[in-house]
Symmetry: C2
Subunit: 432 residues, 2 copies
């Protein structure tokens, strides 16, 4: 009977899984050679949250640009307070007041003081500020109950930031604090990389859009929405190219028009079934084509990584959990590479695994866990309970997890082992 076997059909099964590290190396070194560059664009600083800075941000000025009081009190000469104490205060004549934002021509001389507000310019002559809490006053005189050190409560010119100093490095994913510091040096527009354009479509005759009626044997689309949302979270512009029927011509047409964007992500059709045309279509469409197909990761093994002309293509498996980890492992670093950032959008917590578990050796396993927070000393620690070792089709294993850990080529993980858990719900279980 064996003679009758259709060899072509058999060879469609994955003969070999490429290790993740090798697959990544093949794909990313090929991507490197494409020299994809995103031009930069100018945006308002106030609109720059989560954008990636396209240049080293240097301060155009000193901060503070003038000597400034850091406390409310009295601008004085330090030496006037020599020997001052609770029972023998220094008594100084108040010559006026310097408020924040006001110019002042007042000068401080020996035996005098000028009332001053936080942030106000230090008047000429003064070298220190006595904070209001250690003084008492009638309207004309101020008593200072303590010796004031030279320079006390005075911010020097350029103490915070010097003109020309690099405040934020190129490639930084901008935070609210960055917005504040750019504003504080007077800048209201900056250059960031334009958003990578990611074209996403799904393949599958069984797929129907949520909100419509589910006919017999059909399935609601979910991957495309998940992948789109993940890409948007990483700062991409998503071009939603819908659901593509499972035939070569349609996939070819869809893929061809997707190729003018920066990245293409295809959900489904990447396995080895007779209707999984995606790798075939990719190879027919252009060079170099499929670089890797079949990766030693679980979930996610049917993932394919390709380049056609100048466009990287990630073919994510149709199973939602597999698609999630294909995105995590290949699309996320690809997007970061295009944006020239090393800010990885990941948060981890350290945890201890609560159960011994058998794993597939020679595989990368994405083990989903539930976290259990326990008090420890004045802090806390986490127990990580595996929620399911399998179930690539079961989206609920992802939504019900608090995070996952990455285990490479291990045949077993033992109860009590320490792991890094990448969190799936930011800030859940963390209180401060």
């Amino acid at each position: 009977m064996k003679n009758n076997i259709n060899q072509k059909e058999i060879s469609k099964g994955f003969k070999k899984y490429e290790p993740v590290s090798k697959a990544s190396f093949k794909f990313f070194s090929a991507v490197e050679k494409l020299k994809i560059t995103l031009r930069s664009e100018s945006v308002l600083v106030t609109d720059s949250l989560d954008r990636v800075l396209a240049f080293d941000f240097k301060s155009p000025l000193d901060v503070p640009p003038f000597r400034r009081a850091t406390m409310d009190g009295y601008a004085i000469l330090s030496r006037d307070t020599m020997g001052a104490s609770e029972i023998k205060p220094t008594l100084l004549k108040i010559m006026g007041r310097s408020n924040a934002g006001e110019k002042t021509s007042l000068k401080v001389k020996q035996g005098t003081a000028i009332a001053i507000a936080t942030g106000a310019k230090i008047p000429k002559g003064a070298d220190s500020v006595a904070m209001v809490e250690i003084t008492s006053t009638n309207s004309e005189m101020v008593s200072i109950f303590k010796k004031i050190e030279l320079g006390k409560n005075v911010a020097r010119v350029g103490e915070d930031v010097q003109k020309g100093q690099v405040l934020i490095k190129k490639g930084t994913l901008l935070t609210s604090q960055d917005i504040a510091i750019m504003s504080s040096v007077g800048v209201n527009r900056i250059s960031v990389y334009r958003k990578p354009r990611v074209a996403i479509f799904s393949t599958g005759n069984e797929l129907v859009e949520p909100g419509s009626r589910l006919s017999e044997s059909s399935v609601y689309e979910s991957n495309r929405y998940m992948l789109s949302s993940l890409a948007k979270e990483l700062g991409c512009e998503v071009i939603d190219m819908g659901i593509c029927p499972d035939d070569k011509k349609s996939i070819q047409r869809r893929l061809k028009s997707a190729l003018r964007h920066d990245i293409v992500i295809i959900s489904g059709g990447s396995s080895v079934g007779s209707k999984d045309y995606v790798p075939e279509v990719i190879n027919e469409l252009g060079r170099p084509g499929v670089l890797v197909h079949g990766i030693a990761m679980r979930p996610g093994s049917p993932t394919a990584l390709s380049i056609v002309d100048k466009t990287p293509i990630i073919s994510a498996p149709g199973y939602p959990v597999s698609a999630y980890f294909a995105f995590f492992t290949f699309a996320r670093p690809l997007i970061m590479k295009l944006l020239r950032t090393s800010d990885s959008h990941i948060s981890t917590v350290d945890a201890t695994i609560t159960k011994t578990l058998q794993l597939s050796p020679r595989m990368r396993t994405f083990l989903r866990v539930k976290l259990d927070k326990k008090k420890q000393g004045n802090g806390f620690r986490y127990g990580a309970k595996p929620i399911s070792a399998t179930g690539a089709s079961l989206l609920s294993t992802l939504t019900q997890s608090d995070g996952f850990t990455i285990l490479d080529n291990k045949s077993v993980i033992k109860k009590g082992e320490k792991i890094h858990v990448i969190t799936l719900r930011q800030g859940k279980n963390i209180e401060f």
Copy 2:
């Protein structure tokens, strides 16, 4: 001389700092009594990332809604493969094909098989799927080289999700995975809490807008932009009320019109200088007024927490770093409370402090640190190097930090102590 002291002026200094826990309790228990409710609103599931779910999301259907193949292969009867092996395969007649998304009237009987694609409906009669990798075929017959267990590669009806099952709990900050699971059960619109409306203004005659010219003694506004961005990150709608001059009338007017929003945040004017009118204005404007003023935290001690009529007001200090921690400590949990979510938007890493440091006892210290990643076993660990114990005015101490740790009432932290670091730049230094 002491008799001449103006007691009123002296009392303007903070006589006492309220511990953070006590300040929080006073403020949040008063907020609780206001029973602020955000109505819910309907949004597209695809637009629901980072919104907070306003109800328990229950599945309207079983998933899968029909028995489904989880592998490409052949739908068969398990008992037909009894005794099958590499050298003695079971031979079955192929009666047709069941593709994903197609209806089928085919039936599997003893001695027959139906070719089936992943996701396709299992034909009547079949109880298992032999995966393609362990078969060979010519167009009419398939050889199966292994015994197939009953139910193998078949997803049962409701195996992933049962109709009526709660898939996502009320109060969840929605993720891309949540979007996927909601889509997968056919739902395209859901109810989320409307965005809390946060009115933000700054006080200070010294403040000028970035992008304009800096006159002598003036300072560029930065806090308002930082606070706005932080509020937006937490899912708020921000009403930017600009810069308010340092006079009672102006502050009064500005605050009055801010009060019709859900939360008011004021930057500056909350200290004890003679131009710090904010607490005074709040108390004059309505009941109960200022609840806490002066908090045992560093930076951030001049923070004031108030309620006027039904609106909580957070007065953040004018120093940017103080303002950041005032937001973190009071505005962030307030926003979470309004949104009825416990997802705290925080990520932490465990680290070891690299330097012994003196602290202010009876204070909460927000110690900013730089993280240094070191390999350890097959994972890594972090060293945390304090970058500055002081410097509330120095925004750069915040932007150059990787995170901060919270130390309560400690007079010293010793080199080697373990701490939880709340990260300021998500995913920096983390590679996977």
